[in-house]
């Protein structure tokens, strides 16, 4: 008698499909936003200059978009293949060197290099997955982690071996400061941000609106089940790793005009990508993009909050706090 109305109540509630925005974790997004606002206010109090703070916020958001793109590839690979890919940053380093040689050696426009680097990295990713990682699928996590570590050692030090440690740079023709929102940002930085957003959008559409994307998401959710309904999981593993690697490649081309190109540059992006991935929730592609923005902001505002310290220190403090308090990520669904 008592349970009757409850059942009826539930039946009426479950069929109503909730809109996608209603399923977003609004409370947590609010908390993150509040933390960002608090950091901005604190940064303003410490530096006492609106210009400095606006500059930090603009720079942070712009670079955060690129971090997001790098991390989207990493988190996609984790979500589908269950691999913690320590070689992700070194793929980015390969893309940096590739675009350096296309630009400096062959006189190509820095962004046209994308047309060559993107397919090349896609192919490289596919080959690495097929011939190296495939043998370790389903093995303990440590083994896969160590294999990707080995791959990153080989790539990073091969770059060192063949190209030496001298820093190189790519310059974008017509690169100049552009005023936005009371701050100044180089054109290359803005274009990198826009490019990252466009590519992230394309990736999102690929995952949500195509049959390949559906298959990838099915494998991520349950690979045995996906196999049972006729999805070739090995093929999906290979394609996913290739897509993830291509993300790192695309990010490499976009940031080439912004960074000094050295074999170790990849390692830096690798660590940042891990922070972003954990912040966004491992396997959560949209979370990775948002996490990228948070890390970009944390880095820039952190430099103001702890003057004299490396901007990355604040990023790591945020990282450890998130790892300890909310390892499923700021934007992940709870309990997953």
């Amino acid at each position: 008698m008592t349970s009757q109305p409850m059942v009826a109540d539930q039946e009426t509630r479950t069929p109503t499909p909730s809109a996608w925005w209603a399923r977003l974790p609004w409370l947590r997004i609010g908390i993150v936003l509040a933390a960002v606002v608090a950091a901005i206010v604190l940064a303003y109090l410490r530096s006492g200059s609106t210009v400095v703070v606006t500059q930090a916020v603009v720079t942070g958001i712009l670079i955060g978009g690129v971090y997001g793109l790098v991390a989207m590839g990493l988190t996609l690979i984790f979500g589908v293949l269950d691999i913690v890919n320590f070689a992700h940053g070194s793929f980015l380093a390969i893309a940096l060197f590739l675009s350096y040689y296309l630009v400096a050696g062959m006189g190509m426009h820095p962004y046209l290099a994308l047309l060559i680097v993107l397919p090349a990295m896609f192919l490289l990713g596919a080959l690495v997955q097929r011939f190296v990682l495939a043998g370790a699928m389903g093995k303990p996590l440590e083994n896969q982690l160590l294999i990707t570590l080995g791959i990153s050692l080989v790539i990073e030090n091969s770059l060192l071996l063949f190209f030496g440690a001298n820093p190189r740079s790519v310059s974008l023709p017509g690169d100049q400061g552009v005023a936005i929102l009371g701050a100044v940002a180089e054109l290359s930085r803005i274009l990198a941000f826009v490019g990252a957003l466009v590519l992230a959008g394309l990736l999102f559409l690929l995952l949500r609106r195509t049959s390949l994307g559906t298959a990838i998401r099915a494998v991520a959710a349950n690979d045995a089940g996906a196999q049972m309904v006729g999805i070739d999981t090995r093929w999906i593993y290979m394609l996913t790793f290739a897509i993830g690697t291509a993300c790192a490649g695309a990010a490499g081309v976009l940031v080439a005009p912004l960074v000094t190109i050295e074999p170790v540059t990849g390692a830096l992006f690798n660590i940042i990508a891990f922070v972003v991935v954990v912040l966004g929730g491992m396997g959560n592609v949209v979370g990775a993009l948002l996490g990228g923005l948070v890390v970009g902001l944390a880095e820039q505002l952190g430099a103001l909050l702890l003057p004299g310290q490396s901007p990355l220190l604040v990023v790591f403090i945020v990282f450890v706090l998130v790892l300890l308090l909310r390892p499923q990520g700021l934007f992940g669904r709870s309990g997953s």
Partner: protein, 345 residues
């Protein structure tokens, strides 16, 4: 849990060799290796010391990550704490490196305590745990790079003394004493590893690694023994930091806390055999000489490698290839694979 359960627990997880045999092998190893410096030229002795250093670091990593099952990607944190404690006390305060070593050991163990309590209190596992260790090492690196207290990015040079001295742990560059100190620390590491495994605490740690819920259900305070394992491992790693500083006479934040050092602690154990007592030693013997072999190769490269003359990085490329091959072909490492073959007969 009374004392009657102890023998049962101890016999259950016996490794393939009995304890006395491990101790005997250690003793034989020590006796055989003591006269080694007389047979080696200075260059070979430098290689031998690198092998011992690798072995100490990897024995330490193996205690935490092999026996404890807590994958560490930031062992450089403990190494750097050992090196920096020794360097700071010696350069800024004029304290003997032996005391510096002891202080480093204590600080590293306390650091591991804090890290372990935090990470295990929040039940981090697998990749998340590894990332937390990486983050702690990186935070120390960034802090040291920007802190006036420890000379920022410049790091420390150990001041050269006019004469050899045990008290200052400083000898002529080709002195056999460095070898003896390194050997002593490696033997100590092996003993710690064997005796820890043999102890009640070590058995509890193994049980907690294999199934922490079942262990907790049996009344083992899982977190306490995992943290203890981390502290033992950290303490041993700190001694390697002191040894490195006194032998190479220089340390900076990237060397001490960089991920290259963490990787050097991981590789020998993985190649030799994770969670075995002798794996790290065998891996170190395989990896240690590689740096010199590749350096010699690149100094006088064969014609087809001419364009690589004077470049670095080949040794790590070989490490990486070895690592991938070992994981794919011999996931139990060299020692693990050999042991399986023997025990099958």
């Amino acid at each position: 849990m009374t004392t009657t359960t102890q023998p049962a627990a101890a016999t259950k997880a016996l490794p393939k060799l009995p304890w006395s045999r491990h101790l005997l092998v250690t003793a034989v190893l020590a006796v055989v290796l003591i006269p080694l410096p007389m047979l080696l030229d200075p260059a070979a002795e430098a290689v031998a010391i690198r092998v011992l250093l690798f072995a100490i670091m990897s024995i330490s990593w193996n205690i935490m990550s092999g026996f404890g099952g807590l994958f560490s990607f930031g062992h450089a944190a403990f190494f750097g704490i050992g090196a920096y404690s020794t360097a700071w006390l010696q350069v800024e305060k004029g304290v003997s490196p032996w005391i510096g070593m002891a202080v480093g050991v204590v600080i590293a163990a306390l650091f591991a305590l804090v890290m372990g309590v935090l990470a295990l209190r929040y039940k981090l596992k697998g990749a998340y745990f590894a990332l937390v260790t990486l983050a702690f090492a990186e935070m120390l690196r960034l802090w040291a790079t920007n802190s006036d207290l420890v000379n920022r990015a410049v790091g420390y040079h150990v001041p050269l003394r006019p004469e050899e001295s045990w008290w200052w742990m400083q000898f002529a560059p080709d002195s056999a004493n460095y070898f003896f100190i390194a050997l002593g620390l490696m033997i100590l590491g092996l003993l710690v590893s064997i005796l820890f495994l043999r102890s009640r605490a070590g058995q509890f740690a193994l049980a907690a690694r294999d199934d922490d819920e079942a262990s907790a259900a049996l009344g083992i305070p899982v977190v306490r023994y995992k943290v203890l394992t981390m502290m033992v491992s950290a303490a041993l790693m700190a001694t390697a930091g002191t040894l490195y500083l006194q032998y190479y006479l220089f340390i900076d934040p990237d060397l001490a806390f960089g991920s290259a050092m963490s990787i050097q602690a991981i590789l020998p154990a993985v190649i030799g055999g994770v969670a075995t007592i002798w794996g790290p030693v065998i891996g170190a013997v395989v990896l240690g000489p590689l740096t010199d072999i590749t350096a010699t190769l690149l100094r006088n490269p064969p014609p087809f490698l001419d364009f690589l003359a004077g470049r670095g990085g080949l040794d790590v490329v070989v490490y990486g290839i070895l690592l991938v091959i070992i994981i794919l072909v011999l996931p139990k490492g060299i020692y693990g694979a050999l042991r399986d073959r023997w025990s099958r007969r």
